[in-house]
Subunit: 412 residues, 2 copies
């Protein structure tokens, strides 16, 4: 069984590297990501010996298991938070989300306009760069905060709320970008209004179901005799919300997060909540999340480092600074202290998973082959954006730790 | 995400049917299997509407997740048993295993000789039928016993030990069958001796590692700071043993079971054991095992029911009776009471998963197309064997329940 071998190798490497990261005072995530990077480099070096491992990011089954990892990560993050927290910070978080998107978007557009060569494909290429910089990776931000035990802090709540808003707004950007790439035209207002309607529909349905239907059903579940019923129930709601989100062309992570959010200490009772929480934590932190982060690390393709080092360096610097300024200033204006605002800015700068998906869409659409032959900065754009995604994912926890966020232990 | 939709549908259907089964005094497994059958029938009826669901048994990702389900099921079963129990019953269990293989094998060969038409392909076809009847499905037997809370009983321990032996012996049968199908020749003694050596090697290594290395490492793990470490450690050993088994061309389920077996209350401590056990139980009983059993049910292809009803009926009857007689008499001779022996015989008669794999190998090798054109009994042999596998999987828990095995509640 090929799959079992892959899981074994990844689990051993990520857990060992996670422990080493802890010893260096870093969050587990840093170790898992570095472990994945190292594994990817070694596997590609000896591609003949490890063909499956070298091409793991394209492995259909591994991708599915990674997605399952993100699903559980968001479910778990939702359980760790209270709906009230998000509502309480939502006004300020919306400011942070908008600040944290507009500034990087503008910076990305400006960078593209300066660095990319003039051609008839310049508009979609610049739009791609702007989108890639504007997005925040919710699962990464969430895991970083959990590793640092900062999910429940004031900046932590604000980062998660803002990242969720970001995720929704990024769908608008993505819709525009996709239309630009495919048709070369800006999308009509109808499409964007429709998207707004879908987001509203998703919010209304999940809040109504989560607030009224879920507790009602949970009350009736006591009559059933099935084993592991609470756990199955959480999964069913999570899967249901995730499928609903996908049906509306939103990300499934929104559904998983919403389900976790509405599964509280009062859904069944304190004991049942704690038991289910520990079970989801085991699958997430002890099994699937390390695989997901190692998978991100394995995407690293260093060709841009040698071909266009200046552009790569600028891209990473702009990626971090634009988020720190955009989200950080918005947080400061919303009344957070200076250090807390800096924490929010850094927390929002993790890119990770979503970036890789967008870069993949652009790659498949042939955006990096034009004009023919493409200049180096276009040819290696995919590699550069992947490096940026991984670098920001790695820098976020390290910078936060350096800032003094998280307890001294930092395990988790 | 197609996968999330599949998981949602299967989880809702299997859990609901599991509850209904409990209400009728049947084990959960019966409901999960019937739910899978119903889902398969409906999906194939409306194949245009549910193309993915109709062809789910061929879905690569779903198969991988099913395999993960079997992995966790065997890991959990191992944790629920003590190595000492298996050693204590191993002598008697070997008798039961041999009795429970020889009688069905002979019955299968005889049935094939009588019912199948004379042709140059008769020998491999008869050998296939014998092998199909001789095998016991370990994961099914284990789940039935867990559902009935009989894993820890005298017949329960004997069934599991004997089923494990059966699984190993069946590899010999499978080696012979594969050689017969592929080359038309009986395999040499060297190949069989090599297989024996591999089995011995597997036992020696897992026992040494499980008994000496695992406790030593577990002791050192206390020094690490990682979260969910005990859970990850169990998974790593399970995956390691499973990969080792596969490398020796044995089943990965043997590895998962061995890892669970050596993970005891003394590996870490009572509390840690209980916590890990509950986590594995949640993934197994609340998530993956229902999917696996539904998947088996969805394999049902009823064409043989209408084409060769007499043969199907005889096959199922012979399948149950031969196991009951072969394993039951051996158990009785080994000193079990009459009712306990009957319980062992019935418990050994579950076929399930392995059968489907063997039938698939034979189907791909073209065994059911010869001679050309094949007579009905050959043409529908695949369907007949699948029906037999599902029918015995269904009959085993129902008959055991009828025999009065398991507590009145039977939940789980």
């Amino acid at each position: 069984m090929e799959l079992l071998t892959i899981l074994l190798i990844l689990l051993v490497v990520t857990r060992a590297c996670g422990e080493v990261a802890l010893r260096f005072g870093q969050p587990v995530l840093v170790g898992e990501l570095l472990g994945g990077i190292a594994l990817g480099v070694v596997a590609r070096q000896f591609e003949g010996t490890f063909p499956v491992l070298a091409n793991l990011p394209d492995h259909e089954v591994f991708r599915a298991i990674s997605d399952l990892g993100v699903f559980f990560l968001m479910l778990y993050a939702g359980m760790e938070m209270h709906p009230r927290d998000l509502v309480g910070t939502s006004g300020k978080a919306l400011n942070v989300a908008i600040g944290g998107m507009v500034v990087p978007l503008a910076a990305g557009l400006a960078l593209g306009w300066i660095a990319l060569p003039q051609s008839e494909y310049l508009v979609p290429q610049v739009a791609f760069l702007g989108t890639a910089l504007a997005i925040t990776a919710v699962p990464v931000a969430v895991k970083v905060l959990m590793d640092l035990k900062r999910l429940d802090s004031r900046p932590g709540k604000m980062i998660v709320s803002a990242a969720i808003f970001d995720d929704i707004i990024s769908l608008v950007l993505l819709a525009i970008l996709t239309a630009l790439i495919r048709t070369g035209e800006w999308p009509g207002a109808t499409g964007l209004l429709l998207l707004g309607g879908k987001v509203l529909g998703f919010l209304v349905v999940t809040v109504l179901v989560g607030h009224f239907v879920m507790p009602w059903v949970a009350d009736r579940l006591k009559w059933l005799k099935l084993e592991e019923l609470e756990f199955s129930w959480l999964l069913m709601v999570g899967l249901g919300f995730a499928v609903f989100a996908e049906a509306l062309h939103l990300h499934f992570i929104l559904g998983a997060f919403a389900a976790g959010l509405f599964f509280t200490r009062r859904t069944f009772n304190q004991t049942a909540f704690k038991a289910v929480n520990q079970k989801v934590s085991a699958i997430t932190n002890g099994f699937l999340a390390p695989l997901f982060f190692a998978g991100i690390g394995m995407h690293l393709d260093v060709s841009a480092f040698t071909a266009i080092p200046g552009f790569v360096f600028t891209l990473v610097a702009v990626a971090v600074l634009a988020k720190v300024i955009g989200a950080g200033v918005a947080a400061y204006w919303s009344g957070l202290k200076r250090k807390e605002s800096l924490e929010v800015g850094i927390g929002m700068s993790a890119r990770g998973a979503v970036e890789l998906i967008i870069a993949d869409i652009a790659l498949r659409a042939g955006l990096f082959n034009r004009p023919d032959p493409p200049p180096p900065v276009i040819e290696h754009m995919f590699s550069a954006v992947v490096i940026m995604a991984i670098a920001t994912t790695l820098l976020t926890p390290i910078l936060l730790r350096w800032l003094g966020a998280g307890d001294k232990d930092g395990s988790g």
